[in-house]
Symmetry: C2
Subunit: 218 residues, 2 copies
C-alpha cells in the first residue's frame, strides 16, 4: 500500500518535470524523439543512419541513455553532432529529471531535432514521460514476432514502430503478418520495416519523422 503511494508520487514528480521539459522544448522549437527498444534492437545504428540522412538539413542533438559505458555516445560524437551521455548506473530507464539535467549541456537555440536513446529495455522506459514530442520503439526481427503481444505496454505508448533487421526475416522465420496484426490489436500504429544494414525502408521513417515535426509547426 505504502509502496504504491510512493510509486504514484514518483510518477507525479516525473510528470511535473516532464511538463517543464516540454515547455523548454516548445520555447526553443526543438522536436524531441524518445527512441526505445530491447537491448541490441539496433537503436544506435538507426540513429547513426538517421543522422547521416538528415544532418545537412536539420541541426541534430542526441542524449544517450545507458546503464554503463559511453560507447554509443562516442559513435554519435564521431558522426559530428552534439551528444550528452547519461549513465543511469543501474536504473532501468531514463526519467524526466535526467533529461532536465542533460539539457543544461546543450545550446537548444542551435538544435532543431533532439533524439533521446533510452536504456535498452522493452518494459520500464514506456512508463516515464520525458516531455518528448514523439515516441518510437525499435523492435528487431531476431527478437521474434511475438513481442507486441508479450510486451503490450510499450506498443501502447509509442507513435510508430520500427521493425529492424528486416533483411533477416527469412533466417528467423519471422511472420510479419502476425507482428502487424498483434500491433494493430494493441493500437493502430505506423510500422516501418527497415534494415539499417541494407538501408531498406529508412526513407519512409525519415519522411514520417519530418512530417511529424512539420505537423507541430517547427
Amino acid at each position: 500500500m505504502k509502496v504504491i503511494k510512493v510509486a504514484a508520487s514518483v510518477m507525479r514528480g516525473n510528470e511535473k518535470i516532464a511538463l517543464e521539459n516540454q515547455a523548454v522544448f516548445r520555447n526553443n522549437n526543438v522536436f524531441v524523439v524518445n527512441i526505445m527498444g530491447s537491448p541490441g534492437a539496433g537503436k544506435t545504428t538507426l540513429l547513426l543512419k538517421t543522422i547521416e540522412a538528415l544532418k545537412d538539413n536539420v541541426r541534430i542533438g542526441v542524449i544517450e541513455g545507458d546503464i554503463a559505458t559511453s560507447h554509443d555516445a562516442e559513435l554519435i560524437h564521431a558522426a559530428g553532432v552534439p551528444v550528452v551521455q547519461i549513465n543511469t548506473e543501474g536504473a532501468c530507464h531514463l526519467d524526466a529529471r535526467m533529461i532536465q539535467l542533460a539539457l543544461t549541456h546543450f545550446n537548444l537555440a542551435e538544435i532543431d531535432l533532439l533524439f533521446i536513446e533510452n536504456v535498452g529495455n522493452l518494459v520500464c522506459p514506456a512508463g516515464f514521460n520525458l516531455g518528448e514530442s514523439a515516441r518510437v520503439v525499435v523492435s528487431s526481427v531476431p527478437e521474434g514476432d511475438d513481442k507486441p503481444k508479450k510486451y503490450p505496454g510499450m506498443f501502447r505508448v509509442v507513435d510508430a514502430v520500427l521493425l529492424n533487421k528486416i533483411d533477416l526475416s527469412g533466417v528467423f522465420g519471422f511472420n510479419i503478418n502476425t507482428f502487424r496484426e498483434d500491433v494493430r490489436q494493441t493500437r493502430e500504429l505506423e510500422i516501418f520495416e527497415v534494415s539499417c544494414k541494407t538501408m531498406d525502408g529508412l526513407s519512409g521513417w525519415i519522411d514520417w519523422l519530418m512530417g511529424k515535426r512539420s505537423a507541430v509547426g517547427y
Copy 2:
C-alpha cells in the same frame, strides 16, 4: 530520500520471502534455476531443448514469467511438464512473492528441477532474489557483443552465461573474444556458446546444470 528508503524496504521484504522460498526448495530437494535475458534472446526455446534432453531422467517443473499472454506456458505444457504462468501485468521482473504464490500450484515432492523463466529484461530481474539455487543469463548473438559491458548488473549476479544463436555469429559480425573478455572483466563466469537451432553446445550446458545440482547434494 523517502523513495530510496521505501525501495530498500521493498528489497528487504523481497529478501525475506526469498529466504522462505529457499527453505521450501531445500526441504523438498528441488534445484531451482532462474533464467533471465533480453526479450527474444531464446529463453523459452532453451528451456524446451533442455526439457527434451532431461525429462526422462529428471522430474522437471516450470514457472513462466511474462507481462502478458500464456503463449510460453502453453509450449512448455505441450512438452509434458507441469507449468505455472505468472502474468505480471506490467511489472518488469518476477519477485519472490510471485514465486511463493506460484509454488502453491505445484506438488514439490514430485519435482527435482524447477526452472523459472523471468520476464524478458536485461536489467530489472537481476535485482530480485527469488530464493533460487542458480541464476543464468541467456544473451544472444543478434543483440551484439557489447552487452556484458553495457548491462554489467546482470552479468554480476549470474552463475553462467548462455550465448545463444551462435550459428549466426558470422551474419552479425559478432566478436566472441570481445564478449568473453568483457564478461571476464565483470566476473569469472562459465560461458556456453550454444545454438538452440543446431543444438551446438547444449550438452555442455546440461552437464554444467546437472553438476551444479549434484554439488548441492540433490
